[in-house]
């Protein structure tokens, strides 16, 4: 699909009635139908992928993903199962009983509108149904109609509407135009977690077999091979060894990581994209150098070979199952604690769900840095520490030999990846690391960083190419902030701590800010680390010449 030029995309936002145009709508919002056309929806899951999940991932949960079938979002017939409306309503009832949060979120919104203009999808598309309040209302209206007394009696007058095919289409459209980034929740006076509404919306859609391939195939890969990419153990290992070869060429140091080693002190888990795709592989080279530098007793696992968890974007059962391998592997290997790499949504699963889903991990110890002795009491329950916390602690205690001049060819800014920032409060540590490993660092505007960070626009499994225009729109607020620091401070490197970010911000910058590259924080750490016995460093980890070495 051809992607329209930036100038055109920039002016075609919001033509219809919307907060952005000031025009008053003449119809009720629910009278505007969702229409699917090429480019505004992600491809449905392949039939064989759903067959796989039904037979292999969850043979014990029939119906969790509906009936495997081929279907076309543009068609008026989605081959839905007989009585699908009932399936959805029963599913909603079950979840209202199971998740107290859902019931509260359905009941307590006062429609104050504080969330409306906080959503990057709303800002980028101008579509009123992307206002978080209205996105929630898509589900809430059905809840009201069937589960509240007022709705049962007054129906439409009380804001209720029956579950129809039109509603289902709206759900599929708008629960897949939300990245569960939770920026809106920061501004909600009631603290409604709109991400959980999207999660539940998607979960209900799955019951009738409405889904997208870009989530379901990685989830199938993860169940089968341990990671989203589908890297088998020998490939996973070969890729890391390949990165070690590059490290040797650049630094003269041979790094010797171990795999599936029982008795290691620490198990390290990062997104599989870090050992497969650029620019994530440079982040992985940063980890490898760091662990060698401090002599960490750690191991990689070819089974728990994925930090990410597309189950978070699917349903509760999938999230729990895919997450389970982390603790299972930690137990099998007999490690003391787990160190986690630069993944985004992994930290939401870890920090907010893992302990209740798969814990308590009593067989692990409260993480303590073997180098500094720091006890990470914040991770006392999950037993899992973020690489930025770990690195910041090492720097604070003077345990790293750093030469920030080696990043002088970089003028960096920092994109707070949504989940580490908002789901675990990781705000200071990456900045502390960055300021110690590079001399040039500039913040983007205040309302676009930290807990107010703008999403890359392609999270929650929406990083697929067929919806590229939507992605470029949704990423516009973030790209605009990058443009600001690029023009003001000549920023040329957007650092972040998330693998989806590393992939999607690269596409976003190619479109909006073509001269700004993207990296993980650990890549800049790796560049700056002075290794014992190393040769003179002429290039950075991507073989780019260092400042003063261009000739």
């Amino acid at each position: 699909m051809a992607i329209i030029k930036a100038d055109k995309l920039g002016v075609s936002v919001a033509k219809g009635p919307s907060l952005m145009t000031g025009a008053v709508p003449k119809n009720d919002w629910w009278d505007v139908p969702a229409t699917f056309k090429p480019g505004n929806y992600a491809y449905p899951a392949k039939k064989e992928i759903i067959e796989y999940h039904t037979q292999k991932t969850f043979p014990s949960h029939p119906g969790l993903f509906g009936q495997p079938r081929d279907w076309d979002p543009e068609s008026d017939d989605w081959n839905l199962p007989e009585g699908w409306e009932k399936i959805i309503l029963n599913g909603l009832k079950e979840r209202l009983d199971k998740f107290r949060s859902l019931k509260i979120f359905m009941d307590c919104c006062v429609r104050c509108g504080a969330c409306a203009d906080k959503c990057h999808f709303f800002l980028g598309t101008g579509d009123p149904k992307n206002m978080p309040v209205l996105r929630a209302e898509l589900l809430r209206s059905v809840y009201r109609n069937d589960f509240t007394l007022g709705g049962k009696i007054l129906g439409k007058m009380a804001g209720g509407r029956p579950m129809t095919f039109g509603v289902l289409k709206e759900w599929f459209m708008y629960y897949y135009q939300c990245t569960e980034c939770r920026r809106c929740s920061v501004f909600c006076p009631y603290g409604i977690d709109t991400a959980e509404i999207t999660m539940l919306g998607r979960e209900l859609l799955h019951l009738v077999g409405v889904n997208i391939n870009w989530i379901m195939e990685p989830a199938a890969n993860s169940n089968r091979t341990g990671n989203h990419m589908g890297l088998q153990p020998h490939t996973f290992k070969d890729n890391i060894v390949y990165l070690c070869d590059d490290i040797e060429e650049i630094t003269g140091i041979r790094v010797e990581p171990t795999f599936n080693r029982k008795g290691a002190e620490v198990l390290f888990i990062t997104p599989s994209a870090d050992v497969f795709a650029e620019p994530g592989i440079y982040t992985a080279m940063g980890y490898l150098l760091l662990f060698h530098h401090i002599g960490l007793d750690y191991t990689w696992s070819t089974y728990a070979s994925e930090g990410g968890n597309f189950g978070l974007f699917t349903n509760n059962e999938m999230m729990k199952k895919l997450n389970g391998k982390m603790y299972a592997e930690a137990k099998r290997l007999g490690v003391k604690w787990i160190l986690g790499g630069e993944c985004g949504h992994m930290w939401r699963v870890l920090h907010q769900y893992m302990d209740t889903m798969n814990g308590p991990a009593d067989f692990l110890q409260v993480p303590t840095s073997p180098i500094t002795g720091t006890r990470f009491d914040n991770a006392a329950s999950t037993k899992m520490v973020h690489i930025s916390e770990f690195t910041a602690d090492l720097i604070k205690h003077g345990k790293l030999k750093l030469d920030p001049k080696r990043n002088d060819h970089r003028i960096a800014t920092y994109h707070d990846s949504c989940n580490p920032a908002r789901a675990m409060g990781l705000l200071e540590e990456p900045r502390y690391v960055l300021k110690n490993v590079c001399n040039n660092f500039h913040e983007m505007p205040e309302n676009t960083i930290r807990e107010s960070t703008f999403c890359c626009g392609s999270g929650t499994g929406l990083n697929t190419d067929e919806i590229m225009e939507l992605r470029m729109r949704a990423g516009l607020p973030r790209a605009n902030a990058v443009k600001y620091v690029r023009e003001k401070h000549e920023v040329n490197m957007l650092s972040c701590v998330c693998a989806i970010d590393r992939a999607t911000l690269t596409s976003l910058n190619n479109y909006w800010n073509p001269d700004v590259e993207v990296c993980g924080v650990s890549e800049l750490v790796g560049n700056a680390l002075v290794m014992e016995g190393e040769k003179e460093r002429e290039t950075g980890l991507r073989f780019e010449p260092l400042a003063g070495m261009e000739g």
């Binding site: 491809y43 195939e217 890969n221 990419m229 890729n239 497969f276 795709a277 994530g280």
Partner: protein, 106 residues
């Protein structure tokens, strides 16, 4: 799934035009077909080398190689691979070789 007929061969493809059954359905006619849709002029030994490398790697690993491994194994810098396959190694080259698209955080 759409079906494509070319020079008497029939292929089932996904929405992005990749072979749904992969190398099982792959043959020389497929190369000729992709050459046309990808706007590739003459097929050279260099194209062949990339395709062979991708297929060999896929047979051993069940996934396409890292771009850097493809580059190293063929001896072609990334720039050259893009000259050979204008839509890139992940799209044009993998499509021609009958490999699936990579998924996940990429």
């Amino acid at each position: 799934m759409p079906t494509i007929e070319h020079n008497g061969s029939s292929f089932t493809v996904d929405e992005d035009g990749f072979l749904t059954r992969g190398m099982e359905e792959w043959n020389e006619h497929w190369i000729d077909y992709v050459k046309g849709v990808e706007g590739i002029g003459d097929l050279t030994d260099e194209h062949r080398k990339v395709i062979d490398t991708l297929q060999d790697y896929y047979k051993k690993n069940g996934i396409a190689p890292m771009v850097r491994i493809l580059s190293k194994t063929t001896g072609f810098p990334l720039k050259r691979i893009y000259e050979l396959f204008p839509s890139g190694p992940g799209k044009g080259a993998c499509k021609m070789a009958g490999l699936p698209k990579p998924t996940g955080c990429v």
